[in-house]
Structures are given as structure tokens and as C-alpha cells.
Subunit: 221 residues, 2 copies
Amino acid sequence: MREIFKQIPLYRLIMYCNETNMEKSVLDCGAGGDCPPLSLFEEYGYLTKGIEFNFEQLEKANKYANKKGQNLNIENGDMRKLKFNNESFSFGYSYNSVFHMTKKEILKSINEMNRVLKKDGLLFVNFLTINDFRCGDGVDIGEKQYEQMDDDFPVIHSYFEECEAEKYFEDMEILYKENRVLERIFEGKKVRQGFVDYILKKVKWDIFLYISFLYIITLDY
Amino acid sequence: MREIFKQIPLYRLIMYCNETNMEKSVLDCGAGGDCPPLSLFEEYGYLTKGIEFNFEQLEKANKYANKKGQNLNIENGDMRKLKFNNESFSFGYSYNSVFHMTKKEILKSINEMNRVLKKDGLLFVNFLTINDFRCGDGVDIGEKQYEQMDDDFPVIHSYFEECEAEKYFEDMEILYKENRVLERIFEGKKVRQGFVDYILKKVKWDIFLYISFLYIITLDY
């Protein structure tokens, strides 16, 4: 029996990707953990590539993939500085991941993910919102960024107003946005989490292509 | 290539159902249309049963199932008065469906779905919220219920405040709740929709079982 992947919003991303005619290549930024969603993309016929900053999470993902007999191509990497060429992938995503950085680093990462995406390619990214029950906990480092303890380690959590992250989406069109507040039972307690999810389309050419285009036009005269 | 079902929140329901040890039987109330999600449950090994009030939508679902070589057991029926015995199904759902009735009828339907559910069984149901872009359109029949035109036919749409529907969940525990506002492009225009989704667990015995239990206890003395 195939499993259901707990990263439910990524089913919608696959639906959007399947509706395009683009080559099925996908990059996951923050691809580690014991249930790597790239495995789902692989099941749907995608060429997968993943990067993961944390070695322990990387190890877990590769263990999962080996057990399943899949090669998901997940390696160590940093989404603030991707080692891929411009326009390498049709699709990209970072699920429940970018908000573990400061807002400055998030901007950098989104610019990087945008850079390696092909024109018309799709990007899923989601953010914690100020509706989340942990917003305000921990050491306040300003602008709704907090250093909180996760499993005894200090981890940054950045929280966003409903539309705040949209200033990062230069040259990208919002195809789908979902602002959601969920309540579920976690370790016996009811918790309230807030997320805003986006599916974005890269709409503009990058500046080098644009200059080349102008150059060709000029040559014509 | 398997398809992704557009009723994305039902992937989460399957995940919750798979985590129980209950027999895999599921009832869909409002099971018709050209992409019946019971087909997904069938793929995951569930015994399926569906009812649909509208004959045109019923026809579409059966056409889909025939083409796919599936028998989904969808037939004409009315969720306000289900023709099934008490505690017939482990799982039930009504996706994007109950809010096409008045609030009185919705209460009736939820009571019926609860009745046919086994103890500890799970029920998914979702509601339109007052955040929806169409809330307020059409003929106002009171209590945020409106008669609106869908494909040239008048159809009731009932809209709910965030917690309003919870008064219907007698003897049911909320395992998961998601209040979501989504923006997407529909027929070339950006639309804003509001939903609140629930996964509920039937926790109490029904009154007849309770009386039988008391009767047996009494006999013991």
C-alpha cells in the first residue's frame, strides 16, 4: 500500500506541475527528514534533486530513500547560495523550511530558488504566520523573528503577516495562495498553527536574457 | 501515470484513516461529479459507497468509474435521510457539499452521517466561511444563507463564522480543523474562497447501544 505523504499541500503543487508541459525536474530546498516528499515526486515520474543543510536530516532522508529503493539525489547544500546554474529546474519548492531562517536570509533563498528556476517554472514556498501559537515565544530578535528551542537546540523562527512575504516575489506571479490556521492534537495537546502557502510562476526573463534579446533586436537594424 | 485528485484535503483524511485499525469502509455524501474522490479511496484499498442527490452529477461519476474500471458503488440518495443502518461505516465524508443546503438541513445531514458511523469512526466535513468572495451575493434568506445562481440554476449557499458549525458536532471530537482562505485564478479572474475543514471522531455510543448496555448491566443483578 502506497503511503500518504504528510506534506499535503505538495499534492496540489504536483497537480499544478502536471498541468504544465514542462520537463519534469524538481528541486527541494530543505529536502531532508524521515519522510522526504521528493519520494512522492519520484513516484509521479519527476527527476528529483534535493539539498539539505542539516546532516542529521540528510542522513534520515537518504536512509528512507535507500529502504524504498529510490535515488532522490539529496545532498548537503545551502539554499542561500545554490550551486546550480540559472534556469536548471522546471519546478522547485521549500516546504515548512524557509521560516527557520531570518527574513534577510529568506529573501536571499527565494531569490536563489527563483534564479535556478526555468521561465514559466513553478515554485512552492510557505511561511509561518503571526496566527501561530508559538509566535512571540523565545528570544525576540526583532521584526517577528524569534530564537526558539526545538529539541533542545536554538532555532530561528520568522513569522509573517498575511501579505508580508509577497514583497519577495519579484518577477513571480501568484497562481495560488492559501492562508490557513489549523488546530490539531500534537503530543496530547491541541496546538494552533498558522501558515501561508504560495504557488508562484516565474514570469519574467532574467536580466542577461533580456540584454541578449535587446542585443539581437539591435543587430537586426 | 496516476492522477492527483483536486480534493486535496481528502489526502489528509486518508492519512488519518490509515492510522486507525478500523475496517476500511468509507461513505461519500455528495459523491458525484467528473472527478469522484471515492476513486482515490478505492486506490488506497477502501470499500467505497457513495450517495449523490443530483442525477447529472451521479451520471458523471459513474461514467468516470466505468472508464477507469472501478466499481465505486455510487447511487442516488439524500444525506438528510440516509438509507443505511446505524454504525455501517468506519469513515465518512462530505467534501464541498453540505453548504449547498440550508443550515437546518446541514444539521440533519451531519446527524445522519454521525448515525451511520461506527464508534471511533472518522468524519470529514467542510463549510464555506464568511471570508468567501460570494458571501452576501444573491437572495438573502437569513442567517448568512443565500440563494445564488450556479450555471443558471438557483442553489443555496450557507456561510459560516469560524466556529459556528461546531455546535453540530455533538458526540464528536475535533481531531483536526483548518480554517483557510485561498486565492486562485478561476476562469481568468482571481477569486478568494473561504473554507473551514474538520476531521471528527465519533466518541460516544448512540442512545440505543447505551440503553442496551444499561439493560445488560441491570440483568446482571
